[in-house]
């Protein structure tokens, strides 16, 4: 930096010298760093630290360290992705305690991992600042004038003779340069003219765009960590809530006391679970559902939950949430994550078989919602499903019907199952424990039942997400600029000669030199007779 300033102060030749520095390939960066190192011994500690932080070597070492740590993180099961039970099965308790203490069970949230990422971010910032001025100079102060020797030292160079005076030659060269590299700028000095044109100079900034984009992504991640959270909410059909329960990331993997902690957060609105529906890939013939079926993603096409948002007692909106179809409201997003049977059955169908006094059989089906009472006309009974649900172990729907006759007798509490189960139970029932039977002449079975459902929604609040996507877009833009665009520069020095004008051409490209060489050769050939054209150097190394 300092040396640049001294150059700027001494006018005239400094400009040219700087241009030469710019036009020549950058000095070997390791040599540059060596020089810096040597200088740093004299400088104070802060300066040395900043220099260390801006070396690319530090960045590479950090990348390697991050790779190695991440590798450990994929091999060792991590707490957020593995249940404590599985962890306990995988490791002996002593090892588990040790791994946990070392932070190896939650590497990616450990303080030292975050510190490494921060250090990488700082390294990117310092390294970019250190190098940015160099790149910016290409844009701010392009080297429009080069000495003849420097033009001839370019990666691609050629000399041609034009049998015309300088002014006329200038128009010819200008025309050709414009066609291949864009409109040239002319600098005149000591009777000689240098025409300079360049393309895609902004690709010089690509690397900074890429590194800036990584910082933007980091920033988005930090915003999410600081102001966002992940939580869940469980609701039965018909229930509403204003609270969500935060994911417990501190849960211990070792002790039995590792019970999840419930930390609640208040939402600025009420969430009501109106109703649920499960749609199967192959529609079910009967509604007698099995818990396994409704939870099996291979069988279920999707789970649909109708949810509504209420604020101050006013309904704001209604949404249907399904997998891949979240609900979004005021920065809160709700995702379908678990689906299960709730407490009761919401729709019941009873088959009633009746035999009248004369022995004539009749049959009818009663479809009932929830706990609504209904009248069995044949037997003059009022039936109320006082309880209904799914027996947990047997995965069996049941209802308890309270049957009240016309007489003043106390109602009969009758457990009702489907027909096959009832028969089985009656066979198994013994004298000592008789099964409750319905009144004489009537049989009641459950033929259809739609359970109430419960849903578990993942709640995510992440104000940093947009920033992350912006960073990703910038990253792609930067990568495209970096890999598919190159800064191409061309100088043409017009020197008056006895027979007309000598044109010394020189040029280089920041990347993809082989393509540039072809273009350069085309230009030279199209311009006319050439005295000496050097083949492109054998060095295909990309820089």
């Amino acid at each position: 930096m300092k040396s640049n300033e001294t150059h700027r102060k001494s006018n005239g030749t400094a400009e040219i010298e700087e241009a030469v520095i710019q036009a020549l390939p950058l000095p070997n960066s390791s040599a540059e760093e060596e020089k810096k190192k040597a200088g740093s011994r004299k400088d104070d500690f802060l300066d040395a630290t900043i220099r260390f932080l801006s070396t690319i070597r530090l960045g590479i070492y950090l990348l390697i360290i991050l790779v190695l740590i991440s590798f450990v993180g994929t091999i060792v099961p991590q707490k957020p992705n593995t249940s404590p039970e599985n962890l306990q099965r995988m490791f002996a308790p002593a090892n588990l305690v040790l791994l946990d203490r070392l932070g190896l069970l939650d590497i990616f949230h450990a303080w030292w991992f975050k510190s490494l990422l921060t250090l990488l971010g700082i390294n990117i910032v310092f390294a970019s600042i250190d190098r940015f001025s160099n790149a910016w100079r290409y844009i701010k102060r392009p080297a429009k004038w080069l000495t003849e020797a420097v033009i001839r030292a370019q990666h691609q160079h050629a000399e041609i003779q034009i049998h015309a005076p300088l002014e006329k030659a200038e128009t010819v060269v200008k025309e050709h340069m414009r066609k291949y590299f864009g409109h040239p700028e002319v600098t005149e000095k000591d009777g000689r003219k240098v025409l300079f044109s360049q393309r895609q100079v902004y690709s010089r900034l690509a690397a900074y765009g890429i590194h800036l984009s990584l910082l933007v992504i980091f920033a988005g991640g930090l915003i999410g960590l600081e102001f966002g959270y992940r939580a869940r909410v469980s609701l039965n059909e018909g229930e509403s809530t204003t609270k969500v329960i935060l994911f417990d990331t501190t849960r211990s993997v070792v002790e039995a006391a590792g019970e999840p902690k419930f930390i609640e957060r208040e939402m600025p609105f009420t969430l009501l679970f109106d109703k649920a529906e499960v749609v199967f890939n192959n529609p079910k013939e009967s509604s007698l559902l099995h818990r396994d079926d409704i939870q099996n993603p291979g069988v279920v096409k999707n789970w649909y939950c109708t949810l509504s948002i209420w604020e101050n007692g006013v309904k704001q909106s209604t949404h249907v949430v399904a997998v891949n179809q979240p609900l979004s409201h005021r920065g809160f997003r709700f995702f379908q994550s678990g689906f299960d049977f709730g407490e009761g059955l919401k729709e019941l169908s009873f088959l009633v078989r009746f035999k009248d006094a004369a022995g004539h059989p009749s049959e009818s089906v009663y479809k009932v919602r929830g706990r609504d009472p209904f009248v069995i006309k044949e037997a003059n009974l009022v039936a109320t499903p006082v309880r209904s649900g799914i027996m947990p172990q047997a995965d069996l729907p049941f209802a308890i019907l309270s049957l009240q006759g016309k007489d003043a007798k106390p109602p009969l509490q009758l457990p009702v199952f489907d027909e096959a189960t009832t028969q089985k139970m009656r066979q198994a029932a013994s004298e000592s424990s008789p099964l409750l039977r319905p009144p004489e002449g009537i049989e009641i079975f459950l033929v259809d039942a739609i359970p109430e459902f419960s849903t578990t929604l993942q709640v995510s609040r992440d104000p940093g997400v947009t920033t992350v996507w912006a960073g990703c877009l910038l990253l792609m833009l930067g990568l495209t600029l970096a890999f598919y665009f190159s800064h191409q520069r061309l100088w043409a020095m017009l020197i008056p000669a006895p027979t007309g004008t000598t044109v010394v051409l020189g040029g280089d490209s920041s990347k993809n030199r082989s393509a540039f060489a072809k273009k350069f050769q085309h230009l030279v050939v199209s311009m006319g007779p050439q005295e000496e054209s050097t083949a492109p150097s054998q060095d295909f190394k990309e820089n």
């Binding site: 690319i56 990348l63 790779v67 994929t74 099965r89 992350v468 890999f483 295909f540 990309e542």
Partner: protein, 494 residues
Amino acid sequence: MSRVQTEPMSEKEATAQKKILWPILFSFLGMLLLGMFVIPSILKSGAGLMSPGALLSLAIIFYVGGSALLISYLLRRVERLVQVAKGLVLVAFVFHTGAIAAHWMVARHPPISNIFEMLISFAWALIALDYIFQRIYKLKILSSFSVPIATLAVLLSTILPTDPERVLPPALQSVWLYIHVTFAIFSYVACAIAFVASILYLIKDRVKLETFGMITQALTVSTLLGIDWLGNADTAHRHFNILLRGEFFLNFLYKGRDIAIPEMEKTFLAAALPWVGTAMRISLLVATLGLILYLVKASSKILIRVTQLGFLAQLAAVAAILIATLNTSTQEMIDRIPGQILSQYDATALAKAATVSIKSNPFTLAGLLVALVTTLLFLILNSRHEAIVASLPEPRLLDEVNYKVVTIAFPLLTLMIATGAFWANRTWGSYWNWDPKEVGALITWLVYAAYLHMRIVRGWAGRRAAYFAIIGFVLVLFTFIGISYLLPGLHAYA
């Protein structure tokens, strides 16, 4: 004058024909044998010739023939070999395309939603990109590596469960799946091509044969140890059974969900196969011996003998696995499970739900095959080193291909990660979950980022860049296949 000119020509032609006669005969014989094995089984299955499975089997026949010819092109540099191979690969590619189209039609989604589908799409894209690169760089030798890799991928896909009628779980029913996976496939293919170019560069740059030998041995040792550690647990949850006890445990393959065994326990419910453990133990010991001999720089004669011995041992191990899985009935396997473990399960239900098949441990077989093919390629390289080096294109062209392809692979990797994150955010509400596959992709990305920094800032080209690209591709394989089987997370289904 004309006589003088034609005579040596015809002589040259005659030697050329003699040189290519055996490879062509050999590969056609191989195809015929494969056909005799494959076609009756297609007819027997009754699925018809236009079914995805049948078309893929036909493609395999021609790919194997084409690969054999392209590998023999390394030994006998006669252009006619490549022409014949090109024809075979073209036929295979047509069948392959048909298989993908048929699979797509049956499954009613693009064939990129699980490892099987991804492998066949990967192989397809590799062949297609190989063709494009042939057009640009005229590097015939590239095909000698990329076509066998594609063949290996298609072969491996056949040992994976394939169910085109499987309905996608709701979480996968998103257009982002296809966007995400398409980027993944193309970036992986680009990484594979950079890998091949790097290997060729190292050969051309006259990296010592001993180094290649050492890498081959190290790969074999680490693959076998990897299998032994992660894929060979016995019922007592003990690992390293090949090394310590000379036993290889095969898991069962479960049909449907008739049996309620937790996933965790399925991986430990296994039985030892006869002979396989011994064969693998011998391969491991020979490869370790080879590695040590390479490290202490033993004489090259001994080294080659040990490598050849190792190759035979690996061949025996693969044969032993195939024979043992075909010859062992489910009941025999169940009988080999220790009583106190078996008593925890319903043995009759287990016998009904479980089958013995190599498909239950695809990762193991894939690892063995990769080690086997690598050893074979090394032995071929060893026997014709000078001829192969002489026929390779200039190193700087190979180096340029390496860099060019990485500049394609890296943005694609970035897009793959970004679209995956976008999709995860839409489906699960967070764009990054540190799930093993995500971390694997991140590691790969970081390694290629380091490669690009070293290349652009430090001017690392040539050998060092080649080693970098090789490491990158190994990581790609680890992320693509390894993690799905060994460390399932959110990506468990793919």
